[in-house]
């Protein structure tokens, strides 16, 4: 029908997140969640906040959480913005920093929410093709555009770029904002946070959904120059006074007080990832070098779609896109060692059955 829809709404093609099954018995390697529980400090802080105080609004400025993040990253609270998951933070960035005159640039293979945000806010964009190995052609992101959006490590490829590359992007676009989406950075890439303060046009977005095991809590943040953060606050305060509830504020701050847990969990996942990549390669898969908590793999003799369906029949969910550029690939979240054993076993059965 769409009788009463605005024109903007009629023109939208929403982002499709990976399936979130209501039944739990599946091995879920499709949405890059962390297989390990959140830090006990996070859970304790949430339970302490789950009381009478919920009758009161949260702090609209999230001062305590911003102070905690600032201390963790060696920044000032004025350089920190928090939001309801990094998707919301990214959406606010698109509204706050980009204009309709000049196109935003991002790779052709990257987080598929970027073109959706652009459409929602009426912003033009240009998708720059990655090379055949999904490497970033840095020189094609230099100058003359309305902004640059790069995921590092990239999704769904897992490939990362160096701090020098980020520096080159920030320096090469002095008149536009360079947004680095570091959702997966804690699993092995170099963070650009040390460049905040050096480049007034650099904004780094991170999330507590992946490395901090808090996808269910919806906390993301942006780190950048005070003037960029002020723009995000201006947009946020024109949209929703209180984007983070009291439990999310408490749990996020609790998790940040446990750096040792973050280190242990991310090292464990990186080690499982690398061992699984080796096994997949021995099975004939080509696997990109991933700095993230997922693997991006293709097999010369098997259809990725057939493997996706076969895995699903065996109770294992992974992710696949019906997109010409990456149709031969599966994106596989790194789970526990046991889950990856089950995955490899299932894949080798499927490959044998194909022969």
């Amino acid at each position: 029908m769409k009788e009463f829809w605005s024109r903007r709404a009629r023109a939208l093609t929403p982002y499709t997140p990976g399936e979130q099954p209501r039944q739990r018995r599946l091995i879920k390697l499709n949405t890059n969640e962390n297989p390990y529980p959140p830090s006990p400090w996070a859970l304790e802080a949430i339970r302490a906040a789950a009381g009478e105080g919920l009758r009161l609004y949260p702090d609209p400025e999230a001062a305590e959480l911003r102070e905690t993040l600032a201390a963790v990253y060696g920044l000032r609270p004025e350089q920190v913005f928090v939001g309801n998951g990094s998707d919301e933070v990214l959406a606010f960035c698109f509204q706050a920093f980009f204009d309709p005159e000049r196109p935003i640039l991002f790779p052709d293979v990257t987080y598929s929410f970027y073109p959706v945000f652009a459409a929602l806010f009426g912003l033009p964009y240009r998708q720059v093709p990655l090379d055949e190995n999904f490497a970033l052609p840095l020189e094609q992101f230099m100058g003359g555009n309305g902004g640059v959006v790069i995921a590092n490590p990239n999704a769904p490829t897992g490939r990362d770029i160096s701090l020098g590359d980020v520096r080159a992007l920030a320096a090469g676009n002095p008149e536009a904002v360079v947004l680095v989406d570091e959702a997966y950075v804690d699993f092995g890439a170099q963070s650009a946070v040390p460049l905040v303060g050096e480049y007034p046009n650099l904004v780094v977005v991170q999330t507590m959904s992946k490395s901090r095991s808090l996808a269910g809590l919806r906390v993301g943040y942006a780190l950048g120059d005070e003037d960029l953060i002020a723009a995000l606050n201006c947009v946020k305060n024109s949209f929703n006074s209180y984007t983070l509830d009291r439990l999310a504020l408490a749990g996020a701050a609790g998790a940040l007080r446990d750096p040792e847990y973050l280190r242990t969990v991310t090292m464990k996942i990186a080690s499982t990832r690398d061992r699984t990549a080796d096994r997949l390669r021995r099975m004939g898969f080509q696997v990109t070098d991933s700095a993230a908590n997922f693997l991006f793999a293709t097999h010369p003799e098997a259809s990725a779609k057939a493997l996706l369906d076969g895995l699903r029949e065996k109770g294992i969910l992974v992710r696949w896109w019906d997109d010409p550029r990456i149709r031969d690939y599966l994106r596989i979240t790194v789970g526990t060692d046991e889950e990856m054993d089950a995955l490899c076993q299932a894949l080798s059965e499927l490959l044998e059955a194909e022969e």
Copy 2:
């Protein structure tokens, strides 16, 4: 500086929420929070959800909460949309239903976030003056506009309109969406929810922040025709896949399972409100007839700003706006009986000191 701000961001004047003091000893009658704690069912559901499951994303469709709301209001889940507080739900409504060609209408004295949303999304609007008693001139909201937004009861006046009036608005604007913001409806106004299904252009927005004592949890919802709800989902899924975290989903559903608690708390607050209004009138205040959990009061011989400042010195926060139309008024949230005793005592001291 605003060097890297988008033009849209530069043009914004954000909404200013009431103060949320970090110290707790004040009597806080400034942001219409509920003085009573949330239902124990809500707290229990949150504590049960505060575990390992937080490593997983929430259900992006919030199916369980939408089913619970549908059952409470006698609707189908497809007629229910949930969001991160009613501010977010309202923002999505502005994006989903209104176009730049025809102005949206709302009263000149109402929730001051409406013009902010309009500016954020580049939508024109016209503010229709309420009469001298803050009553709604219904005939001025009929036809030829791009949408109608009405708070019922209205904020900050507390005045309500009848179900017949809402029916007239929906019938009188067959080509535009009529949005009824029922944030305060549970404290004594007639809800338009029974008209959902009858009018395809009617959307009703409610919140769990006020009557359910869950301002700290950020849960709001819209009830309307399936086609309107589909438009909201389309906008939401182009902005943030998961706007409600697992704890908010659980707590909100828990609260809804306790209708008796809602009834008890809202009746108690309505009774405190009416008794306080009588006392204020005996002190010489003119007080609008409020169907909400706040009072809107003016005194012929005292400056509202002076009373605001005087109350603050005595540790009591209320709300005042530097707006020519309502500069002589204070908006006072209804707290506990003890808090209202302290308020009346403080006001009578301030009035005596003025004489």
